[in-house]
């Protein structure tokens, strides 16, 4: 006796094609398939982001407020130590806004990188036991970093509105472009690091150190004018400006730090910023594809390396 449900099932299965399991070969077709797979699991991606966020602040009474404490405390430190005591605030108008804009961009980048680097390792229980498109773990880290950014950005907007420094010119598009560019770049780097860290655990610590250095390699607590005065016109300046984070931070500042666009303040910007941003964005897209290919090659052995 054949159960009718069983019969229906076998008829349905007979109609499905037998698909090869595992890594998607082919430079472009493989990426397309992976993207399709991730798109199919987008609900899970959302749940993983929520899990990370909810779990982080589950038992604290202040909850989300804590995610603001770090950037706010950093703002206070830099405002008083660098701005007032060292006296940078005299050279940089609206120093508090300037620093907070830079910090917001920087926090987004560093959160994406440091979280996604360890994302596979910290989800090893899942990686070893269930098949999921593994890119989902670094992407979930990007998601939770974006949420943190959103909260910080709202505070920033509130601050510029309250202080009467709300950007009204089209320069704000710089910030939007910088955001897209920075997220693309950080995601591609994060995906690559997530895969590599499984094989070389030292990367986790190396990334921390490099992030600490990179913080000072971008004009976050000092303005670009200082850089121009020091190494303006030299090859060093070009190297400095080749850093995608620097360009992103500059884009955020140009869009949201209104005082920098007032001609009387004499703030200088690097030439061809829009072009630089577009070029870096396009390179980041290529880099993202490249990272995904590498990740896809590496992920076949994740389950046994962990």
């Amino acid at each position: 006796m054949i159960d009718p449900e069983a019969h229906l099932r076998s008829v349905r299965i007979a109609l499905l094609p037998l698909a090869e399991v595992g890594r998607h070969r082919g430079a472009f077709a493989g990426t397309a398939k992976s993207v399709g797979e991730i798109w199919d699991r987008r609900e899970l991606l959302g749940l993983l982001v929520r899990r990370e966020l909810r779990a982080r602040y589950k038992n604290s009474s202040l909850g989300l407020v804590w995610s603001l404490m770090r950037p706010l405390s950093q703002l206070l430190i830099y405002y008083f130590a660098v701005g007032q005591i060292i006296g940078l605030a005299r050279a940089v108008p609206d120093f508090a806004i300037f620093v907070f804009v830079g910090l917001t961009a920087w926090t987004l980048f560093s959160e994406i990188i440091s979280n996604s680097t360890v994302s596979i390792i910290s989800n090893q229980g899942l990686v070893k036991k269930v098949y999921l498109p593994r890119e989902i773990f670094p992407l979930a880290s990007v998601g939770s970093a974006l949420f943190g950014f959103l909260v910080q950005f709202i505070v920033l907007l509130a601050a510029v509105v309250v202080l009467g420094r709300f950007p009204t010119s089209w320069d704000i598009l710089y910030a939007a472009g910088a955001f897209i560019m920075l997220v693309t770049f950080a995601t591609s780097l994060g995906v690559l690091l997530a895969g590599l860290t499984v094989y070389a655990r030292d990367l986790e610590h190396l990334v921390e150190v490099v992030l600490a250095v990179l913080f000072w390699a971008s004009p976050i607590v000092y303005s670009y004018s200082f850089v121009q005065n020091a190494i303006g016109g030299s090859a060093l300046e070009q190297i400095y400006l080749a850093n995608p984070i620097t360009v992103a931070v500059l884009g955020f500042q140009r869009g949201l730090w209104v005082a920098g666009s007032v001609p009387a303040n004499g703030v200088s910007w690097p030439p061809d910023m829009a072009t630089r941003m577009v070029v870096i964005f396009l390179l980041s897209v290529v880099f993202l594809w490249f990272s995904q290919r590498i990740f896809s090659r590496l992920q076949g052995n994740f389950a046994q390396e962990l």
Partner: protein
């Protein structure tokens, strides 16, 4: 079976594991030149060709390290094969771990959604099944409590409830049924039986031969990554037990042991016979077994106790009895004796067994001998009433 379509197809699948000795960059840099030497490779799977038809319940068995879990993970796509191709269709759920992705800080409700999503349900589907899941788990009262406050039993029940509400065509199970209390295991088995009726395909890894025999209609036996058997469950389990026997060191017979300083009792022949034997020489389940042991007592200074034990392969003791327990005293007089022990209506399940007999001084840690060993097997037969307890009786005769 040929009428149903193939759901999984493996062709020439091999998996090589490379054991890295060096994990950190420093270690790798230092040992760079020697890195190749330190890589130790072994084949967890070799050249597996396999087709699984829809509706089959396939058991994967083998001793530890035989590659059965690796094969399951390869089918599930969790591990990439080194060579070969795995093709699959239909919806897959891998129950390699109950509650995969459960986060201790989230509530039961949140974890149900997360876990269901990991297993491939959409949010809408989970919402539809949610009441059924909670109902099945039987922990309604705690569904909004953080999972870290759950007892392990509650945790497993909730996780299992989610797993069985995923609607898979192909279900991979790795030993998850080994956890939980007896009612829970019964629930699992009932659910699996239901899945079988519904024509779902199940691939099941287990160490429990009984469960495999009970559930599976096809068994693969793996040994060091090679597939050494593919066929019916009963035969497969016999082959499996054979591999266990081959790998355990054979026991030395008493004759080859050099005589110790003082006279040990000498164990003569050990025999076992049954009241009902099938054509292959295996004993019928439920038949009366008769164990006889010849021995002689050469030293009057010690009182002796004889003991027999029965192990099911691979060395799990299922029965042990001594002359003391049987109420028999071995006389101190020097002489030759025959001990006959009757095991009426044996309760043993089908399989190969080894019977061991030993004699030792009753008191103290006197020198022990190598036990005398006999092998026998119990035939598989359906519908035999097995009693849970039985009373052995024994008589001792002088020869």
């Amino acid at each position: 079976m040929s009428a149903t379509p193939t759901i999984v197809e493996l062709s020439g699948v091999s998996k090589k594991f490379v054991l890295h000795q060096h994990k950190s960059l420093k270690e790798r840099a230092v040992a760079f030149s020697a890195a190749r030497k330190h890589q130790e490779a072994f084949w967890a799977l070799r050249d597996i060709d396999l087709q699984i038809a829809t509706g089959t319940t396939l058991g994967l068995v083998g001793h530890n390290g035989s590659g059965k879990s690796t094969l399951l993970k390869v089918i599930g796509g969790i591990i990439q094969p080194t060579t070969g191709v795995v093709r699959r269709r239909g919806r897959l759920a891998a129950l390699l771990e109950l509650g995969a992705g459960f986060h201790p800080d989230l509530t039961g409700r949140e974890n149900v959604y997360l876990n269901a999503s990991i297993l491939g349900l959409t949010k809408a589907e989970t919402s539809r099944f949610f009441d059924a899941i909670v109902d099945f788990s039987g922990i309604e009262a705690f569904i909004d409590t953080q999972v870290k406050f759950y007892s392990s039993g509650m945790y497993v029940r909730l996780a299992f409830a989610v797993s069985v509400h995923v609607d898979p065509d192909l279900l991979l199970i790795d030993e998850v049924l080994a956890v939980g209390d007896e009612p829970f295991q019964q629930k699992c088995l009932a659910k699996i039986a239901q899945f079988q009726r519904e024509g779902r395909t199940i691939v099941y890894v287990s160490h429990s031969s009984d469960q495999v025999a009970q559930l599976c209609d096809r068994v693969l036996v793996l040994d060091h990554g090679n597939m050494i058997f593919d066929g019916s469950a009963d035969e497969g389990i016999d082959v499996l037990r054979q591999t266990y026997t081959d790998s355990t060191p054979s026991f030395v017979s008493p004759k080859s042991v050099s005589a110790p300083a003082y006279a040990l009792p000498s164990v003569g022949s050990l025999r076992i016979s049954s009241s009902a034997i099938d054509t292959s020489g295996a004993f019928m389940p439920g038949s009366d077994l008769l164990v006889t042991l010849d021995f002689s007592n050469d030293d009057m200074s010690q009182r002796l106790t004889a003991e027999i034990s029965i192990d099911i392969q691979p060395g799990v003791e299922v029965y042990r009895v001594s002359t003391d327990q049987l109420g028999i005293e071995i006389p101190r007089e020097v002489g030759a004796y025959t001990l006959a022990i009757t095991l009426p209506q044996n309760p043993f399940v089908s399989g190969s067994y080894s019977l061991r007999a030993s004699l030792a001084p009753t008191q103290g840690d006197g020198p022990h001998q190598q036990p005398s060993v006999q092998h026998f097997s119990i035939a598989s037969a359906a519908g035999v009433e097995r009693s849970n307890s039985f009373n052995a009786s024994a008589v001792l005769r002088t020869r």
